[in-house]
Symmetry: C2
Subunit: 133 residues, 2 copies
DNA sequence: ATCAACCGTGGAGTTTAGTCCATGCTTTAC
DNA sequence: GTAAAGCATGGACTAAACTCCACGGTTGAT
């Protein structure tokens, strides 16, 4: 199929597909061209892209996704390997969540402090925060 | 003071200070130069940088921080304004946290599914996930 | 014949917040 | 007198994952 159809079937834009190609995430052999030089994409490429999307949707980066696919293709994507990769991601996510929640608390505190510091309920006063002592 | 001292007192690198200058976050008048062309930074600039850092530490971007400072300087940084900006940030954070937690659940699910799908406890089998049906 | 819609390539731009480099002048210390 | 350290300027580079653009060839419909 041509790139337009590939785009439709994967939900990716042509530009994205071409970008993935530039990145080496998918390959089209130099022989897989039509006479007019249009690229002919195989079902295998379609599958690879769908898989890439699926893995990516779990929060893996493009490169990580490609690595996982390589493992699978080399029959090395064992349960241990995959689980370990996912575990690592979970740890990263947990860290991010913690940071965000800390930030959230700080923000909530400045909101209450700001309102509290306003000369009583006149919320049109300047916020006493964000002023260096 | 010169940039080196300013860097020391703010904890920012010279490069960062120069970058902020390029971005227009701080300004040094063309007249505020020593005879040798070295820039002379005022205490006001120092304060502005410290304030910028403080606001930034609450998760605001550089530009947002600069905007908040502008409000404060124009005596418009009212409790309402500041609280509203913080509220907005909180909402953004909440959204991100939710996304991350959803992702976390998906990952946990693929871990258990992967292990469950392994031909029983042989974790060296290929993970049955990440395979298109 | 011509217009839209599609294809190819190469390269630039986007975002954020800087970092690093080259070049060249100034000042300070030994 | 010379080396190190500090200053100024302008511009390139970084990550991530695209998106957009220009230019040009091809195909299909009218």
């Amino acid at each position: 199929m041509l790139i337009g159809q590939l785009a439709q079937r994967t939900g990716l834009s042509r530009d994205t597909i071409r970008f993935y190609e530039k990145q080496g995430l998918i390959k089209v052999g130099r022989r897989e061209r039509r006479v007019n030089n249009y690229k002919e994409y195989s079902e295998a490429v379609l599958k690879r892209l769908l898989l890439l999307n699926k893995i990516k949707s779990y929060g893996f980066t493009l490169n990580e996704s490609a690595e996982i696919i390589s493992l699978l293709e080399a029959d090395l994507g064992t349960c241990n390997q995959i689980s370990k990769a996912a575990d690592k991601k979970v740890a990263v996510i947990d860290k991010k969540v913690k940071e965000l929640l800390d930030l959230r608390n700080s923000l909530l505190k400045i909101i209450t402090d700001c309102k509290k510091g306003c000369s009583s309920p006149n919320l049109e006063d300047n916020c006493p925060l964000f002023v260096l002592e």
